[in-house]
Amino acid sequence: MAATETVRLPAPARRDPMSAKILRGVGKLPLQIFLAVVALLWLVPTIGLFITSILPASEITTSGWWKIFAHPSLATFSNYSALFHNAGLTQAMKTTAYIAVGNTLLVVIVAALAGYAFAWLEFPGRDWIFIGVIALLVVPLQMALIPMFRLYDSFGIGGTVLSVILFHAAFGLPFAIFLLRNFFIGIPKDILESARIDGASELWIFLRLILPLGLPAIASLAIFQFLWTWNDLIVSLTFNVQPITVWINGQMRQFSSSIDIIAPAAFLSLVVPLVIFFAFQRYFVQGLLAGSVK
């Protein structure tokens, strides 16, 4: 993961006279303006959604959200307070949280166990089995929707949060095992060997050495799994579970007349991912790079 830790470039440590600095700054002005415009364009959609979500219904249907800059007093949180009293939405938020947290825990535990086995336990055909697990990355989840829909039906667990958690966990595993195994294998061998010589059980080594030492990779994985399941639509939609994405999707038929519900609900749905993203940006980027650059 050498490449992953230097996402930001260190500033070149040159010592130039002030005048040269100013000159360079002026020379870069067109570039600065261009990038500022790009950044603004990238922000506008999210800002637009937020402003739409705080306008009264009567205003949204007659005029654009940007009118708020001329009439700031229009802003109201009544849409949000209405949503918080909407039993359907609060239930959907809870469902979303259960799915995201449950899946994240399950994937982290199962993948850490398997990753440790692939990295540090010896058994026949280990590396071939590992390649087989990675090969499962090719399976798009669409391949499993029909059979699992039927299977869930016959076992009567369709429509439960658990059915969605297990589905997500299985499809998260190949990447998760790959990520953790590759991180665990970088842990110095001496540490494990000396613990084994001291008579530590594999479980003890796993819990007391591997997990703490593997924390950076586990954090990346957890964030990815959390966001992936928090943001999911297709799996829950298929198995008739209603997290927030599916709940909003149910309101979409009357898009313009329900916009005072849809916009704040959509914004609520992205607040949690945004907070997670800002809080753990480093791990997020690391996980992303581990998945693509390696």
Binding site: K28, G64, W65, A169, R208, N231, I234, F277
Partner: protein
């Protein structure tokens, strides 16, 4: 990796592991550690994959249904909705990976030269955290057709109004059948000779749309060698008589009137006075047609129908590129950071321009990273689903259809599990070679 956490003493064990038994217990430990993963992968990935492949050769209903051979695959390539989906997915693959990689490269290279690179990258990367579904909702608000509601059409209107101003009388209609519409304007049906009079009456003009300074309409009488006329609002409170200039009806100033000869060439044009009158003089004998130019009736910009059947796919593509450009930028920026700086510096010292350095040094060195981004995007694009559901209104979802969405609709709206399985297998076959490349890379690095 700090040493603090690894100095913890393992629990003392009285008996040392007996020789020979250690290896077997290690195997057993391996099996136990792998068991949960194998159960999940076996039940949720391996079994379904086999089932779906088999299922794709059977009819719509039942655990397997009746054997239909390759009929489901034939359906896939002959049903128009499914063909649309395949075509759209092809467009996605052709457009999105290239744009995402290009934007990522552009942003990654340009941000190296600014001091607020971290802020810029955070902003561009932000959409990656948001669900594709919420992105769809967000962009659907931006794409609304009415320029008073959709921000993108509002921008279009601002530009359009600046380039071609809407006509002074964009909603006006002829007051009698003597005026015919032609090429966006209105033309008097009966040809005129010099000395004739052209009465161009209009209705359908709201009081606030009457140009400022309008006066009582003139009553042209005719003059030899010239054609005189009037453009007026052929309506007064109470109605009035159509086609006749009456007291209380106002002329329409600043309207461009055109006079065409018998070969339909514009020979003269004039602007109306405050009382609506105009006059063409110095005419040679012959027949002429008088009319009002098209510019007068130019409609204001009504907004593009982004969510309509024609533009819906491009509209979704734009939103999708907005999400993924940040991903490409971050991955490429990491590749840039890992690049040997001295190579770049050497090229610059040798007098290469910035463009040459970029084209001849940076891009070739980045080629592996660029191809990773490109391939990752091909896979993502083939599986695209949520954003189409969220952005395309029910009425145009068929036009915006893509393979993954077609699979879902066929299976869970149409409950044709046979064709649904066939679409899933088709998708699987499409991503297979792409991901095989990735797996080979994983193996090399593992």
């Amino acid at each position: 990796m700090s040493g603090a956490s690894i100095t913890a003493e393992p629990p003392p064990r009285a008996a040392p592991p007996e020789p020979g038994g250690e290896g077997r217990s290690r195997y057993r430990a391996g099996a136990l550690f792998l068991l949960p993963a194998f159960i999940l992968l076996g039940v949720w990935l391996v079994y379904p994959t086999i089932y779906t492949i088999v299922r794709s050769f059977f009819g719509p209903a039942g655990y397997l249904g009746t054997w239909v051979g390759i009929d489901n695959y034939r359906t896939l390539f002959t049903t128009s909705t499914l063909v649309t989906a395949i075509k759209n997915s092809a467009i996605w693959v052709a457009v999105v990976p290239a744009f995402v990689t290009a934007f990522g490269l552009l942003f990654a290279v340009l941000t190296e030269r600014i001091s607020w690179a971290v802020g810029f990258k955070t902003i561009i990367f932000l959409p990656m955290a948001i669900s594709a579904f919420a992105t769809g909702v967000t962009w659907r608000i931006l794409y609304q057709q009415n320029p008073d509601q959709g921000a993108i059409n509002a921008l279009g209107k601002t530009v359009s109004d600046a380039v071609t101003a809407p006509g002074v009388l964009s909603n006006a209609l002829p007051s009698t059948t003597a005026l015919q519409s032609k090429g966006g304007g209105l033309v008097l049906k009966t040809p005129l000779h010099p000395g004739g009079v052209a009465l161009l009456g209009l209705t359908g003009i709201a009081p606030e749309d009457v140009p400022q300074g309008a006066q009582q309409a003139a009553k042209p009488s005719g003059q030899s060698g010239a054609i005189e006329g009037v453009v007026w609002k052929d309506f007064k409170p109470g109605g009035g008589k159509a086609g006749v200039v009456e007291q209380g009806e106002v002329g329409l100033p600043d309207v461009t009137v055109e006079l065409r000869d018998s070969s339909n060439k514009v020979v003269q044009s004039a602007k109306t006075e405050r009382n609506g009158s105009f006059r063409f003089t110095g005419l040679s004998p012959g027949t002429y047609n008088a009319g009002i130019g098209a510019a007068t009736f130019a409609k204001p910009f009504g907004g593009y129908s982004w969510l309509g059947p024609k533009l819906i796919t491009p509209a979704i593509l734009i939103a999708y590129i907005w999400i993924w450009a940040g991903f490409a930028m971050v991955v490429i920026a990491a590749g840039l950071a890992a690049m040997p700086r001295d190579v770049l510096e050497a090229a610059r010292t040798d007098g290469a321009t910035e463009w040459q350095v970029f084209r001849r040094v940076t891009v070739p060195l980045l080629a592996p990273v660029l191809s990773v981004v490109f391939i990752t995007m091909i896979i993502n694009v083939l599986k695209v689903f949520d954003i189409v559901i969220a952005l395309a209104p029910e009425s145009t979802q068929a036009n915006a259809n893509v393979i993954a969405l077609a699979m879902w609709r066929t299976s869970f709206s149409g409950f044709d599990f046979g064709t649904g399985s066939a679409i899933a297998v088709f998708l699987f076959l499409l991503v297979l070679p792409v991901l095989a490349l990735n797996v080979r890379r994983f193996r090399r690095d593992a």
